[in-house]
């Protein structure tokens, strides 16, 4: 190697030209003056943290890890990863009980499922919200995701034989949301893939992808989950399967957050982890066809989740939706909805989250669609709660439009 032929630095922080584009694109900075912004929290303060970890700034917790700074950066600096990595390495305050609860999406799902109707009724009550707000600082204005009485995995296991009958197979990383809250989305994916001649199977073992743990100070637990997931994914990939997900955040976590933030090597399987819409789009490009209902009609406004923008894959969902005859399609402006997973549930972030989402909500109201399409479950909660418009995953819209 020639000396100084290239330079290297953690998350490319030395590539930063201080152009401040990231700061202009940061949704948090627009609404929360306590947040110093991605450039300052990332590449600027990294030099001070390298001098002495004492210079760690607690205001980094206001970063919601939407990664819009990374999309904006013309110099390839992984700004959000720098910030999250600093939080992981230098913030030693133990996570609050509230943060542990919010981050334990799989545990909560397991506990809630058998008594789902009760949980749903209770969490919907005003008194519950008041109590949660007062005790745990989970904002009382927030509506909670509803739990399902039966899990997606139980349903798919019942249909294992008929799925195995398909010559072609794909593995499905369903995620906590599909399993505990909304099994219908998983069923919709099975319907669409089956229509393409692909059977769906579960991974040998699946744990929560861990993103909520990473951002809530529980990265050690997230790393344990990551090891289990990558081991299972590797087995599936070795069998020649693609691993699909219907959640943009799960995909981003499995592909990018594992190696960047948790140090989990996923090199050999990374390219086989795909968002379902990308898999389906590529199938159709290669000649596969889906037969849509001739009488189908929907006015759809599509919101690209921030993490999907980071992946650069919003285009696959968009193209698929546009292919459905009878769809009146509007692509919404690039905006963050403000919830960022568990971020918006926290009392201290509620105002900020709603202010961040305001431009998106306004645009949805003015477009006035029948349904908003979006690949992210937490965006869905936020948009439904804040606008009253129903939100569907593009996969569910495809399934609904199929003959």
């Amino acid at each position: 190697m020639k000396i100084q032929e290239y330079t290297q630095s953690k998350y490319n922080f030395e590539e930063c030209m201080k152009c401040t584009v990231c700061t202009a694109y940061c949704p948090v900075l627009q609404v929360n003056p306590l947040f110093p912004g991605p450039k300052q929290c990332g590449p600027d303060e990294e030099r001070l943290r390298l001098k002495d970890p004492y210079f760690f700034n607690t205001a980094l917790k206001y970063c919601m890890n939407c990664k819009r700074c990374e999309v904006a950066c013309p110099s390839g600096v992984n700004v959000a990863a720098l910030i999250q990595s600093a939080r992981i390495h230098y913030d030693h305050t133990p996570p609050k009980v509230r943060d542990r609860i919010l981050a334990s999406t799989d545990f909560m799902g397991k506990m809630a499922r058998p008594v789902a109707p009760v949980v749903n009724a209770v969490t919907g009550l005003g008194i519950t919200k008041t109590v949660l707000d007062a005790t745990l600082k989970i904002d009382h204005r927030r509506s909670f995701p509803r739990y399902s009485g039966s899990s997606f995995t139980a349903w798919l296991k019942r249909h294992r034989k008929e799925q195995a009958a398909f010559e072609e197979q794909a593995a499905y990383f369903h995620g906590c949301y599909v399993n505990y809250n909304h099994p219908q989305l998983g069923k919709d994916l099975v319907k669409v893939l089956n229509a393409l001649g692909v059977g769906v199977q579960l991974l040998e073992k699946e744990k929560c992808c861990g993103i909520a743990m990473i951002v809530n100070g529980m990265s050690a637990r997230a790393a344990r989950n990551a090891s289990v997931n990558i081991a299972s994914i590797r087995k599936a990939v070795d069998k020649g399967l693609k691993v699909l997900s219907t959640s943009s955040t799960c995909v981003l976590t499995l592909r990018d957050e594992y190696p960047e933030l948790l140090g989990i090597d996923n090199d050999s399987v990374r390219e086989d982890i795909l968002l379902a819409t990308r898999f389906i789009f590529e199938r159709m490009e290669a000649g596969a066809t889906l037969h849509f209902r001739p009488d189908y009609h929907r006015r759809i406004a599509y919101h690209v989740p921030c993490h999907l923008e980071k992946l650069g894959w919003g285009v696959f969902s968009e193209r698929l939706l546009r292919r459905i005859p009878g769809v009146e399609f509007t692509l919404l402006d690039s905006n963050c909805c403000g919830i960022a997973g568990t971020y918006g549930f926290k009392k201290e972030n509620y105002e900020a989250a709603q202010n961040i989402g305001a431009p998106l909500f306004d645009q949805i109201r003015s477009v006035d669609p029948e349904v908003v399409a979006c690949d992210c479950e937490t965006c869905k909660w936020q948009i439904e709660m804040s606008t009253g418009y129903p939100v569907m995953n593009p996969i569910s819209i495809l399934a609904e439009a199929l003959e």
């Binding site: 000396i3 290239y6 330079t7 290297q8 922080f13 201080k18 030099r47 001070l48 004492y54 760690f56």
Partner: protein
């Protein structure tokens, strides 16, 4: 006894010190502490010569232990003193002397023995431990010795000495050139001066004048008719954009080129080269491509990661080495310091020159010089500089300072406490404007910049840089320079002067970027040019 200062003419002093480097500043403080009325005259700004153009290394003395035990003993004594009196200028990093496979393995024993003889705590440590302490160190090292080296900020140290002198009644005139001496027979009575910014001409008188001109001391002495022979040796260094090492890393071998890597504030610095240059070349020294190449190649042997770490700047300084007593052969060149009493040496009364020496031993140089001055002036006060902390250093750690001022300090507030020590107490303000950042790379606030303008004689952007680290980060003034220029313009009220200052500042930044103008640093410099030329129309 000294005259009652109140009855003196405002242009009359006990002592005039020429030179605003660390030697001059240290001497002024010592004089002021002993009750002398002092004036310090500097033709440019504080620490513009060798003081500000070195590694920023607080020597433990280990580097000199084998060949120059006297310097080594001086260093370790002063090292211990400075840790107490200049805490806010020092980062107690510790130092390692590493042996690489190509180095003589026997040298380590000689080295450790010499260190211990000089009173330096040198401890041989397991190479494996050294690798763990310092993950970026050359992993092939075969031996390591731990010594009490540290990193020191020469600008901060110089400014703190000067500030203390001022608090004790001393006067400082920066950007003021001594154009000649006022002599009465064989006695030097005063100096003619000219202010470089305003053109104003003034005469100042003193009972004794100290020439602390560093590498320019020969020129100054010549104006009074005295002769000094200096042997200027140029040393070049590279600044890397962030700290790669925690400890000072030295090679355990005979001192040579580019064998010290010092972590200094947010950067790390590798150096130096050494080559003799003619005296008339000292004003404009440039770093050559060969030197850059040598520094990267040799530096990468200390920490291999340097071969692919972004470089921020290259700079060079000139060591004011001195040949003792009219000996032109150069055989007697020492790294120690020499106080020349021109009365006994050349028959010129009222003039003392202080030459040579090192940053680490500045206080001792000042003490010895002031002792001589006091003998001549009949002052019997004892030197107190070894026990009296500099303004800012009264509390040991910056963590403590920050905690005392702010409940939950932000990074910028922590950085201010690191730079200013207890003087950061002035930063406590209810006006949020004062918390706004001017320099985002180094996190310097409006309050800190205004403080440097009001209380530390900063009148240009470069002055501000030396006192606050403004523009020393990766962006090299790209955004902070114009912000700070606004604050300066508000203080002196002249837009045109500030526009010219901004221009000069950016030129000076480019001068340091030029020798290493590639990769990210070139991109950034280019971007800076766009901003100033095409956006701001400068």
């Amino acid at each position: 006894m000294i005259k009652n200062t109140h009855t003196m003419n405002p242009n009359e002093f006990d002592v005039i010190i020429i030179g605003g480097g660390i030697t001059g500043a240290g001497t002024q403080r010592d004089c002021a502490m002993r009750g002398l009325k002092t004036l310090l005259i500097e033709r440019s700004d504080i620490a513009t010569g060798a003081t500000g153009r070195n590694h920023g290394l607080l020597h433990s003395g280990a580097r000199y232990a084998v060949n120059d035990s006297e310097s080594a003993e001086e260093c370790i004594r002063e090292n211990r003193i400075l840790r107490k009196i200049a805490a806010h200028c020092i980062d107690e990093t510790g130092g390692l002397f590493i042996t690489l496979p190509e180095d003589d393995p026997e040298y380590q024993n000689t080295f450790v023995e010499s260190c211990l003889r000089a009173g330096i705590e040198a401890e041989v440590i397991d190479p494996e431990l050294a690798r763990r302490w310092e993950p970026t160190v050359n992993q092939n090292l075969t031996g390591a010795v731990k010594v009490p080296d540290a990193s020191i900020d020469p600008f901060r140290l110089c400014a703190a000495n000067m500030l203390d002198a001022k608090l004790r009644g001393g006067q400082v005139r920066l950007h003021t050139t001594v154009t000649g001496f006022i002599k009465e027979g064989d006695t030097v009575r005063g100096v003619h001066t000219r202010n470089a910014q305003t053109g104003q001409v003034n005469d100042f008188y003193a009972r004794i004048i100290v020439n602390a001109g560093g590498v320019w001391a020969q020129e100054i002495a010549a104006m009074a008719g005295a002769q000094i022979s200096l042997y200027p040796a140029k040393g070049s260094l590279l600044i890397f954009a962030h700290r790669v090492n925690k400890h000072v890393i030295n090679r355990c071998r005979k001192p040579s080129n580019a064998d010290i890597l010092v972590p200094g504030d947010t950067v790390c610095i590798v150096g130096t080269t050494s080559s003799r240059i003619p005296l008339d070349a000292c004003d404009e020294v440039a770093v050559t491509p060969e030197e850059v190449n040598l520094l990267i190649t040799e530096g990468s042997k200390l920490a291999p990661v340097l071969s692919s770490t972004r470089i921020l700047r290259a700079y060079a300084g000139v060591r004011p080495l001195i040949s003792t007593d009219k000996d032109d052969s150069g055989r007697n060149i020492t790294r120690g310091f020499v106080i020349l009493d021109h009365e006994s040496r050349d028959g010129i009364k009222g003039l003392v020159s202080i030459c040579g020496g090192k940053l680490t031993t500045y206080r001792l140089m000042a003490e010895k010089t002031t002792d001589l001055l006091c003998r001549k002036l009949g002052n019997e006060k004892k030197c107190m500089t070894a026990v009296s902390p500099l303004p800012g250093s009264e509390e040991g750690s910056y963590e403590k300072v920050a905690q005392k001022i702010w409940e939950t300090p932000s990074t910028a507030q922590k950085a201010a406490a690191f730079r200013m020590g207890t003087r950061a107490f002035r930063m406590r303000s209810s006006d949020r404007w004062n918390d706004a950042l001017v320099c985002k790379c180094e996190e310097v606030s409006v309050g800190e910049i205004n403080g440097a303008i009001e209380r530390m004689d900063a009148s240009t952007l470069t002055d501000l840089r030396r006192r606050t680290r403004l523009g020393m980060g990766p962006c090299q003034g790209e955004f902070c320079a114009c912000r700070a220029a606004g604050l300066l313009a508000a203080s002196h009220g002249c837009i045109d002067r500030e526009r010219e200052d901004l221009n000069q500042f950016l030129q000076e930044r480019w001068k340091g970027n030029f020798p290493i103008g590639w990769g990210d640093t070139l991109r950034e410099a280019e971007y800076t040019q766009w901003v100033y030329k095409f956006v701001l129309g400068l």
